[in-house]
Amino acid sequence: MRSLKQPFFKTFFILTALALCLGSAYLFAGLAEGSWNYNIARRINILAAIAVTAVSVGLSSVVFQTITSNHILTPSIMGLDNLYVFIQTVVIYFLGTGEMEMMTRQNDFLLTLAIMTAASTSIFIFMFKTNCANVYFAVLAGLVFGIAFGGLSSFMQVIIDPSEFSILEGRMFASFNKINLPLMGISSLIVALSSVWIALDFKNLDVMTLGRAHSVALGVNYEKIVLKTFVAVSLLTSASTVLVGPVTFLGILIVSIARFIFPTYRHDILVPGTILVGICALISGMLVTERYLQFTVPLSVIINFAGGICFIYLVLKLKRI
């Protein structure tokens, strides 16, 4: 199983070089003398957020596809980031501002995180226990879940007290241009810990590419690793959503490109590959919105446009099989 690593070394080198070039282009290009201090700090924060998002979305999308045995679903397509926004709205709605002031932002985040992990893990387990084989059902259910949670969140945001809503707005509608800086530290920590936790199981996940029956026959503790992965995917999705907001089709875009560049089942190649592709895609998108479109179009729109096309292509390809 070792021999495959060599041919990908060059690809990794090129991708890393590309990511570094794009990163420095973003960081230094067009800096005016007067606004140096302001701009460089802002740009460093954006690059850091991009790195955290790429790790979180890339890793969660690859392992999610492994345990669900398909190549067109990702946590975001299953409506997971909308679920996060919904839970956050509910937390703020029921706790209200009075109590919110006593709670620090981090406590609020951790509470949302706990509810999110419990809720999404139960939804996954329920869905994949009752209807395991059908990808179409899962896509449909995921999209319906996503729309339902999105709708419920908007509904609650409409009936919420206007002063509470302004607090909510500040916390919830993060984007790449409005990064949730106070939670940057804790969300990076969660992404880092979850990544290490999952990386320990890469060998088992390689075997799980073969499906449940073969994995069990080969002695993988299948149910335990599926549960663990679902929990980690929930944590990762929550962390990236709180930091930069939902970007539904980012995961599918970067995983599909990575699978094309790295045609392998090995997670120790595929995951870093996906993360590098994610970094390159996000920085390029950021360069386009900032420098050419003058912020008229948000980054998530560009990413969703490209990712959406990619998703439609994959669904059409699936139909042919």
Partner: protein, 252 residues
């Protein structure tokens, strides 16, 4: 030795397996026969811990399956089900190398290399080792999965309809390979087979199920009788002798 104690399996409200208790012999090819829905695959899947029984227990080498560590059990017993088409790009050699996972946990040792080379050799697919499995024909792919199970080097090998969708030539090849594994490596092989004549020619021992009940069990000779087979499959079956073996004729 594998034995089952009163296993039953319920799907929703339907009992597909009703109190099966048996002791299975070792060092033989053991065929599971019965019509569709008789419970053969369910029984095989329960023995291999792929699905839990609703009642009863399976004992493998003196220990109940629920007490086995799943990683250790994978060094003693393996099951090969009907393989679904996989989207994953994986070469035959890598697939066969997965068979060594219970022994090496992904870090390939020289022992593993040897076992993989031997498995490729014994299944006759050495020339295909660098091909991707999604490019192979159904028969070649089946052989690759069998090679993975061979590389796993377990005492018990369970095969759920390995001859499905294969031509006669390849089916014979697979059954001969099974005989070789039993003879040369003293494996015990459990196999679900639909073609009764393959059972007659290659199996040493037969378990016959009907409607979830284990109805007959014994040496192949003793099961290949018209009245037993007619009962199992609910059609008239004539049994003829041909060069010391029994041939079943059920075409009308």
């Amino acid at each position: 030795m594998i034995s089952t104690e009163n296993i039953s399996k319920k799907y929703r409200s339907e009992l597909v397996l009703k109190g099966v208790s048996t002791i299975l012999p070792t060092g033989k090819i053991i065929a599971f026969i019965g019509s569709n829905g008789a419970g053969k695959s369910t029984l095989l899947n329960i023995i291999s811990r792929l699905i839990p029984p609703s009642e009863g227990s399976v004992v493998i080498d003196g220990k109940k399956t629920s007490l086995w560590n799943t990683g250790d059990l994978a060094k003693t017993l393996t099951i090969l089900g009907q393989s679904p088409q996989s989207e994953t790009r994986i070469t035959v050699k890598d697939l066969v190398s997965f068979g060594r996972f219970p022994h090496s946990n992904g870090e390939t040792t020289p022992d593993d290399e040897r076992a993989v080379a031997e498995a490729l050799n014994i299944t006759g697919i050495e020339t295909l080792k660098d091909r991707y499995i999604d490019e192979l024909s159904g028969g070649q792919r089946q052989m690759a999965y069998i090679a993975m199970s061979v590389a796993q080097d377990t005492k018990y090998i369970l095969l759920d309809e390995p001859l499905n969708n294969l031509d006669m030539g390849r089916s014979v090849k697979i059954m001969k390979l099974m005989q070789k594994l039993v003879k040369e490596k003293s494996k015990t092989i459990f196999v679900v087979v639909h073609d009764i004549n393959f059972v007659s020619f290659y199996a040493d021992y037969v378990l016959a199920l009907k409607d979830g009940i284990l109805k007959y069990q014994g040496e192949t000779e003793s099961i290949m009788r018209p009245e037993i087979l007619s009962d199992i499959y609910d059609i008239d079956i004539t049994v003829e002798n041909y060069r010391g073996k029994k041939i079943c004729i059920y075409y009308k």
